[in-house]
Amino acid sequence: MPAAVSFQRVSRHFGHVRAVDDVSLEIAEGEFFAMLGPSGSGKTTCLRLIAGFEQPSSGHIEIFGQTAEGLPPYRRNVNTVFQDYALFPHMTVGENVAYGLMIKGVGRAERDAKALDSLSMVKLKGFEQRRPSQLSGGQRQRVALARALVNQPKVLLLDEPLGALDLKLREQMQEELKALQKQLGITFVFVTHDQGEALSMANRVAIFNDGKIVQEGTPNDVYERPRSRFVADFVGSSNLLPPEFAMAHGGTKAWTSLRPEKIKVVAPGEPVHGNHHTVSGHIISIQYQGAVTRISTDVEGTRIAAVVPTLNDIFKEGDPVQLAWETHNLVAMDAA
């Protein structure tokens, strides 16, 4: 079975800027695939290459085995949820959702029924007669989703669809999107700069930097085993231990990632159970974050942050402490 989307050494240059630089990737059918990266890393251009708004400067793109380059957007069976939704202001919500069907020449009654189905899928039944300008951001987002899904695309592209929503709504939509994807079985390709979003929703994540994919894998994989300092730092913040420090404390002579939540913080002299490597340092700052507390420490001149469950105020800034970690949590990385 061919991949839903396949990039073979695809590049897209704008003048001297290599927005996408020699990217190869395969997205399997039914996957929830996230493209994660900072702005300008090429992830959105990749999405636009799949949608057909951009054509590759070189390389080959296939969508379900069909060559995509040269194919205009309106001849591709993919649909996009735009970052700012791009709802047509001169049409009602119902007309917006039915637009793709109207273009295909589906009869009025049938397309109205399908639009209604699609709207009830995103829980916006009864909003058909409203105008996009009368909706809240979250509702517009749902309309954009319904408008794309009504066409039963083989691949749904989402360009930072939750970026404009507030935190609470974003978390709710994350859950709904994931449930929807499971229910429909459509391949979702999702662009985001929010690592939490990518980790919580996607089956697989590709991390972009400077137009290239720097790492690809399951969320767990990229989080637990970052292969570069960029990934370690971008996907959740991590402690980046210099090679000498890592070697002296249970690791190998390489830049090493150590996740803050893998570190135990205990008072000096207190015993540490299990097979732990311990170091001593002192506390620079304590940040209370609700359920957890972030403790920044100085260990032999290296800054190490630990995230521990908030218990009570046993530590104060300036206190000497012991840090302990299991050595298998030290992840050696490539130099970059």
């Binding site: 057909g52 957007p73 996009t80 793709g100």
Partner: protein, 309 residues
């Protein structure tokens, strides 16, 4: 000490206006409201009032009694012909202006950047900087029998096309500058900027995103044009057409200089209030464009031309 006090009192006025923002709004709005209310609407009502008076045919004096007789005079065959002639001309000018303006506005809004955009604005606006009369007289020369159009047509051995055009009934004439075609061409030229600018402004607001979304949903460029770009540009085109239509309805100079001297509403009003001294009928005539524009706007609204606003 002194400066401190004055700063304090000045601050008090600002504080007062800040707390009573309604008074500030009123103070800012009062001059324009007075202008519109008295000078503009007031004179319009005075005009409307005049149209309900009548002219005593023997004495030539205005009878200040309420009557519909002046309006009845509008419906004489001569006057109806004048109205029809003006409306047909205004409609033709508007439609052709819209057709000519759209590609120009579209190019300027979607493709022109930086210097090209500046050039576009310059090209559209520059004709507005020179006198209307100079332009119209210049066109009279261009369109004259000895003018450049006839000359070019002859050089290209296309004189027969021009002759054929002028031989057409009603719109033809002895030369371009003595025919409805000439009047029409000058109207289109003079009012075109008023169509281009609002159309361009409307197209400017059609986000690139809408066009991409439309293509993404399966629409070919042609479908995108008719279902997204054109409907979104329509309020601008309507705004432009209000200009071209009403300006043509009311103009009294162009038909006097270029054309076959048949009267239009504007020239008729000009003659009635001047030499004829029939102010009531002149007023009744000016009400005609007002009513036509009102109907036009209602129809446009019904058809959803302003949905995108």
């Amino acid at each position: 000490m002194n400066t401190a006090t004055s700063a304090h009192s000045r601050g008090r006025l600002a504080d007062f206006l800040y707390r009573n923002s309604g008074i500030l709004t009123l103070a800012l709005l009062l001059p324009p409201l007075l202008w519109i209310g008295i000078v503009y609407l007031g004179s319009l009502f005075a005009l409307l009032l005049q149209s309900f008076y009548s002219l005593d045919e023997f004495s030539g004096l205005i009878v200040h009694e309420f009557t519909f007789s002046t309006y009845r005079r509008l419906f004489t065959p001569t006057n109806l012909t004048i109205i029809l002639r003006t409306v047909v001309m205004a409609a033709a000018v508007t439609i052709v202006s819209a057709i000519v303006a759209f590609p120009i506005a579209y190019y300027a809004a979607r493709y022109a950047r930086g210097g090209w955009k500046a050039l576009f604005y310059l090209a559209v606006m520059m004709p507005l900087w020179s006198s209307y009369l100079v332009k119209v007289y210049a066109w009279k020369l261009i369109l004259a029998k000895e003018g450049i159009i006839t000359w070019i047509a002859d050089k290209l051995h296309l004189g027969w096309v021009l002759d054929g055009l002028l031989a057409l009934p009603v719109i033809g004439g002895s030369s371009l500058s003595f025919s409805y075609i000439g009047t029409f061409l000058v109207f289109v030229y003079i009012w075109l900027p008023y169509m281009i600018l609002p159309t361009q402004a409307a197209l400017e607001r059609v986000a690139k995103n809408f066009i991409e979304a439309s293509a993404d949903l399966g629409a070919t460029p042609r479908q995108t044009f008719s279902t997204v770009i054109f409907p979104l540009a329509l309020p601008g085109i309507i705004a432009g057409s209000i200009f071209t239509f009403s300006l043509t309805l009311g103009d009294y100079i162009i038909p006097q200089i270029v054309g076959n001297s048949r009267p239009f509403i504007g020239t008729t009003v000009y003659a009635l209030q001047g030499t004829a001294g029939d102010i009531p009928l002149a007023a009744a005539f000016t009400v005609v464009p007002v009513i036509i524009m009102g109907i036009y706007l209602i129809v446009a609204r019904r058809m959803g031309a302003f949905n995108a606003l």
